[in-house]
């Protein structure tokens, strides 16, 4: 029994943690942000399939209907207290002639600052801003600048450990700028579970203010990060990213 416990403890020490609110490329849960940050020097590049049911209700309409989209991003944590990401979301458009389909992009920057680290009793506190500055295609007009994903948030996260199993409780208050995203405003939160016997994986349950999301993510071979989620047990989203640490370090947690 002691040997098994030792192996589990060793696995936990050797694990390389990764956590992501992957549709933006930032650290977090599934759709909601958390106060957890990537390690200093962490960088990732990836893509995420976003189900149309998780897209904004306005702006991402094609022939009157919402559609699935893909985004891709780069993300970096230059210091342990600040993280930045640049995200590009595919949009459908109707062009001249017969052309119609994906071709335009919505681009935005995300920024997260963590002024307070997690203490023995106190949770970590982070402030964030998605869609800091939006750019548009050269062909678009000023009226196309919609800030589809702009939101501000303050998040608090606290970890709990039971026999090597790790739980994280997150509560966030966020506010989307656009009225058509107001369903995601207000108090949101979730719980993650990282098992002692498989610490590279993480199970997530969260409430976005409007939806119940269940998901899982895992870091394979130190670099390959996968995340999948389902909304209301009906609408899946998933993504993949390459994860590395620019200091060449992989921290245990």
């Amino acid at each position: 029994m002691k040997r098994i416990f030792f192996l589990f403890a060793l696995c936990a020490l050797c694990a390389f943690a990764s956590r992501a609110q992957q549709y933006t490329g930032m650290s977090g849960m599934l759709h909601i942000p958390s106060a957890e940050m990537h390690d200093e020097g962490d960088a990732r590049i990836g893509a995420h399939f976003i189900n149309k049911n998780m897209m904004p209700d306005t702006g991402f309409l094609y022939e009157g209907a919402k559609y699935h989209s893909i985004d891709y991003y780069v993300d970096i944590t230059p210091f342990s207290w600040i993280e930045m990401a640049f995200t590009c979301t595919e949009r459908k458009t109707k062009g001249s002639g017969d052309f119609g389909g994906y071709g335009r992009k919505d681009r935005y920057l995300s920024l997260k600052i963590r002024p307070f680290r997690e203490g023995e009793y106190m949770p970590a506190i982070a402030l964030g801003w998605n869609d800091v500055g939006t750019t548009i295609d050269e062909s678009a007009t000023r009226s196309d600048v919609q800030l589809y994903f702009r939101n501000y948030y303050v998040a608090a996260s606290k970890h709990f450990f039971f026999s090597g199993h790790q739980f994280e409780l997150t509560m966030s208050y966020r506010h989307f700028s656009r009225h058509y995203n107001s369903k995601w405003n207000g108090l949101v939160g979730g719980v993650t579970y990282r098992p002692a016997f498989w610490p590279k994986a993480r199970a997530i349950v969260e409430y976005t203010g409007n939806d119940l999301l269940v998901g899982m993510d895992i870091l394979l071979w130190r670099h390959l990060f996968l995340q999948a989620s389902i909304k209301d047990f009906q609408y899946p989203s998933f993504g993949i990213s390459y994860h590395t640490n620019l200091f060449g370090k992989y921290y245990s947690y």
């Binding site: 020097g41 960088a43 970096i76 230059p78 210091f79 930045m84 640049f86 458009t93 062009g95 052309f99 994906y102 071709g103 335009r104 992009k105 681009r107 500055g133 750019t135 295609d137 050269e138 062909s139 620019l246 200091f247 060449g248």
Partner: protein
């Protein structure tokens, strides 16, 4: 023309470097052949996701001692969705340069020849470290246009470009802040502010620029040093290019606040000067590339 004569005169009348590490460098003559990749993309229409321009950039550097360097580089298009102008394989750089210290105060690099961004002429880079964490820099250039993209095109040397600015370096975090003002290669006046963090083998920076031609823009860059990180002591070496650079600009003002490179492997991480001649900033970090020396058995 007087300026050209002056710079060339300085170039050829330089005294030998005083630093002992430079003397050691003098014995290490070598010829490097390398190949890099120049990857460009743009998003200016919705018929195609991205326009891609992918070039191979084979080049060479011959270090023939006393900090003289002869270098050259060609561009060989592999994928071109940018248009006919970028279609031909062509010469991109052919530069003779010399690094030296002026009165042990200013580290300088004088270059003459065919520079990047289709410029030819003479160029001087000056860098004065005031302390471990403060330095002043300047670049002066007198150049004309030259290109083989659509046949031989050349204009007289008639553009004077200059930059002046300062650098702050925080060794504890390997963070570098850089700010310059000047007249840039396309004739615009501008300001460039840049914040860099140097990681192991990678430098990431955020920058903002203000141009008299295009206004405000910003973006980020990454300079990744490419393995292998160990190099042989052979006289002739064949290797990949030392680095791969990536730049993303928000508003795609790619022609504003730009200066031509005078080295085929110039990058933000290593700066203008080689490590042996200037020990400042990121050159005090652990070297990206080390030379493997054969152990002599008795």
């Amino acid at each position: 023309m007087h300026l050209t004569t002056l710079i060339l005169a300085i170039l050829f009348l330089l005294k030998s470097p005083s630093s002992s590490c430079l003397q050691a460098q003098d014995t290490n003559r070598h010829l490097d052949f390398f190949v890099g990749v120049d990857f460009n993309y743009r998003d200016i229409n919705y018929v195609r996701q991205w326009d891609v321009l992918l070039n191979l950039t084979p080049g060479f550097k011959y270090d023939f001692g006393h900090n003289w360097m002869l270098s050259g580089q060609a561009i060989v298009p592999i994928i071109n969705q940018y248009g006919n102008y970028y279609e031909r394989p062509r010469l991109n750089m052919a530069v003779l340069s010399k690094e030296f210290w002026l009165a042990d105060i200013i580290c300088a690099k004088a270059s003459a020849g065919w520079f990047g961004m289709s410029r030819y002429g003479v160029d001087a880079k000056l860098f004065a470290p005031l302390s471990e964490w403060v330095a002043v820099e300047s670049q002066l250039g007198y150049t004309g246009y030259v290109s083989m993209a659509t046949g031989w095109e050349m204009s007289p040397m008639d553009r004077f470009t200059w930059t002046f600015g300062g650098d702050l370096y925080f060794p504890e975090y390997n963070v570098q802040l850089r700010g310059i003002i000047g007249r840039f290669v396309y004739g615009d006046f501008g300001i460039l502010c840049e914040g860099m963090r140097h990681f192991k083998h990678t430098t990431v920076s955020l920058f903002g620029k203000l141009s008299s031609a295009d206004g405000l823009d910003a973006g980020f860059k990454a300079a990744i040093m490419v393995p292998p990180y160990h190099r042989s002591t052979r006289m002739v070496r064949i290797r990949p290019a030392s680095n791969f650079r990536f730049t993303s600009i928000i508003k795609y003002h790619q022609h504003s606040v730009r200066m031509y490179p005078t080295d085929p492997e110039e990058n933000e991480r290593e700066g203008w000067f080689t490590r042996p001649i200037l020990r400042w900033g990121s050159h005090n970090m652990e070297a990206d590339f080390t030379t493997l020396r054969k152990e002599v058995s008795e």
